[in-house]
């Protein structure tokens, strides 16, 4: 984490024009997908095409103007990537809605709700950028953020507002709205981790004693953050939320590694993960099932709980092939939760590998931009925060897409920006706002101060009088 690298001599341009151009293309993706859904399912361009497209355009333009005004140097690629993913997600959810409606299911307004959540997300995105003019302010809130994060994680345990949906107690219900506080907690914990680590990283990396191969830091340096981490992990395990615990663990490890520059942490973390996974495999029946479904999906097709969902998703993706069946011409509704966790399998079935690859590249670009922001950021707190936020996206995408495609055992997490889920969508928009704020600070040319007059003070400085 050196402060001056070869990157520092680089002058960044604002590139707001490039952002606008990419946003137009992103809107073409979103609205084009919506039109294609209408054509594929109903054989005609949807009636509310203009209204829907106008709404989407309005949201995106509002976000763009905010960035133009309050963060003119911010990264030009992040917002278009997010807009395209969100637009595509909306269209695919709408496509599933149409089928659910035709099948006579009660719940077939996911897309409308998602659009409301997206509006809320954009509003929060704009608010974050407007209110937070300097991300370093957040460093003052290190412990507040940590405490708030843990409190939010505990909320679902409360008797009245807590809800147990699909076996995981991660929901609260307020005035008819369900919300997953854990999604917000992950952003707060990133702030807490980076605020803590940036102050203590030297002590963590240098002080302490060596045990076998690794330098263990002193308890008083590691203690607070370990407590923060331990408590949140414990809560998540109690809530039976496997995906989120995996996410928090990976996030914590990545930030510790980046802060201390010690690869030893990855080894320790890997061993801890192995031990934890083994313990979970031995003692938690649910985890054993997940492993079995992953290794032999077809054997458990008819069992209950079985691998029906995963197998149908794999069939769908296989049937989709290289370019898919076309929006509206597949049977993604056969997969339970096709609109949330399994949205990638819907896209794989109807738009094929070509679209799935494009989506993975989009996520890759988001993560690359986050790490890039971390590289060029001038302050350690911003660096750590950008790494943390980037790894949240990276881990989430890896766990979900890996699970749906059968690469790793399946754990429930939302696909950022694509899948249905209000809390996750809102939190992700805030993540992008924070990243843009850090990148605006990082890419803004360094203040040019009048040079210290080095000519007049020769008498003061040490001089080489004679060599030899």
């Amino acid at each position: 984490m050196s402060q001056t690298g070869p990157l520092m001599g680089f002058v960044h341009r604002r590139r707001r024009g490039a952002e606008l151009f990419l946003l137009v293309l992103a809107l073409a993706v979103g609205i084009g997908a919506y039109a294609a859904v209408g054509l594929g399912v109903e054989g005609a361009v949807p009636a509310d095409m203009v209204g829907y497209g106008g709404w989407l355009t309005g949201l995106i333009i509002a976000a763009h103007i905010t960035v133009r005004v309050v963060a003119p140097y911010a990264d030009p690629v992040l917002l278009p990537l997010v807009a395209a993913l969100n637009g595509l997600g909306l269209a695919v959810i709408h496509r599933l809605d149409l089928t659910y409606e035709a099948m006579g299911q009660d719940q077939h307004t996911f897309a409308r709700q998602q659009l409301i959540w997206m509006t809320l997300g954009v509003v929060l995105f704009v608010t974050t950028l407007l209110l937070l003019r300097d991300h370093r302010v957040l460093q003052r809130l290190t412990y507040t953020a940590g405490l708030a994060g843990i409190l939010l994680l505990v909320l679902p345990f409360l008797p009245v507002i807590g809800r147990n949906i699909n076996g995981a107690r991660i929901w609260i219900n307020l005035a008819g709205f369900s919300f997953q506080p854990g999604e917000v907690a992950k952003v707060l914990l990133v702030i807490a981790f980076s605020g803590y680590l940036v102050l203590h990283r030297d002590a963590l990396a240098l002080a302490g004693r060596r045990v076998v191969f690794i330098d263990l830091p002193r308890g008083r340096d590691l203690g607070p953050i370990l407590a923060m981490f331990g408590v949140s992990m414990m809560i998540l395990v109690l809530q039976n939320d496997l995906g989120s615990s995996l996410l928090f663990f990976g996030l914590f490890l990545a930030m510790l590694y980046v802060a201390t520059e010690r690869p030893g942490w990855l080894v320790v973390g890997g061993l801890m993960f192995g031990a934890g996974a083994l313990a979970a495999y031995t003692f938690v029946g649910n985890v054993q099932n997940r492993f079995n479904f992953w290794l032999h999906p077809l054997d458990y097709y008819d069992a209950s709980p079985g691998s029906y969902q995963l197998v149908e998703a794999l069939f769908g993706q296989g049937w989709g092939g290289l370019i898919g069946r076309g929006l509206g011409n597949g049977f993604p509704e056969r997969v339970p939760f096709a609109y949330s966790d399994f949205i990638i399998s819907t896209i794989g079935e109807e738009l094929g590998l070509t679209a799935v690859m494009a989506i993975i590249v989009c996520y890759g670009l988001i993560v690359e931009r986050a790490l890039r922001i971390a590289l060029i950021s001038r302050d350690g707190f911003g660096k750590l925060m950008a790494v943390g936020l980037g790894s949240i996206v990276a881990l989430q995408v890896f766990v979900v897409i890996g699970g749906v495609t059968g690469l790793i055992p399946l754990t429930g997490l939302t696909t950022p920006f694509l899948s249905y889920g209000g809390s996750s969508l809102v939190a992700n928009w805030v993540i992008i706002a924070l990243l843009l704020r850090i990148s605006d600070q990082a890419r803004r040319p360094a203040p040019r101060l009048e040079p210290a007059d080095d000519t007049s003070d020769d008498s003061e400085s040490t001089q080489v009088v004679k060599l030899r």
Binding site: L351, E368, P447, L449, A452
Partner: protein
């Protein structure tokens, strides 16, 4: 709707998707390699302009006018910001000369960029702090923000 039309729609959509992804990549690419503002323009060209700006600069209402020591060995020592950049240290050429053992000879510098005032550490031994944070880069300071060098605390005042 015929099979061919549907195929064309699908192909067109995938094309749009990939055009978007590739344009995003190309923006990143030119962002990485296309620094069109060369170092020379950054270092040399704005200098005369800046001198002119400095001569023309009029203190705005509410803008800080001087830097003062509020705590430490030499409380009350002050320097006018009109003489900026101000050097803080133990050396005899410092605008604010401190008798603090924990301060380096050339410790820190206060200078303006546009309307904002910045404090910059000049590689001191014990560091310069703005609030609780040790600074590693020029950092904006406003009225009343406490800057700590050694055991001394300085502030911008009106």
């Amino acid at each position: 709707m015929s099979e061919l039309t549907l195929f064309l729609i699908r192909a067109a959509f995938l094309a749009i998707l990939w055009i978007f992804v590739l344009s995003a990549i190309s923006v990143i690419r030119s962002d990485m390699f296309g620094a069109r503002v060369p170092e020379t323009a950054r270092g040399a060209a704005p200098v005369p302009e800046r001198r002119k700006g400095k001569a023309a600069r009029k203190p705005r209402r509410g803008a800080p006018t001087h830097l003062v020591v509020v705590e430490g060995e030499n409380p009350g020592t002050r320097a006018e910001l009109a003489d900026a950049p101000l050097l803080i240290g133990r050396g005899s050429d410092a605008a604010i000369k401190l008798d603090d053992d924990y301060v380096s000879t050339r410790h820190a510098r206060v200078a303006a960029s546009g309307d904002e005032w910045f404090v910059e550490d000049l590689g001191s031994t014990n560091g310069t702090y703005v609030g609780p944070v040790r600074i590693t880069q020029p950092t904006t300071i406003g009225l009343g923000v406490q800057v700590r060098v050694g055991k001394t605390i300085l502030e911008l005042r009106k």
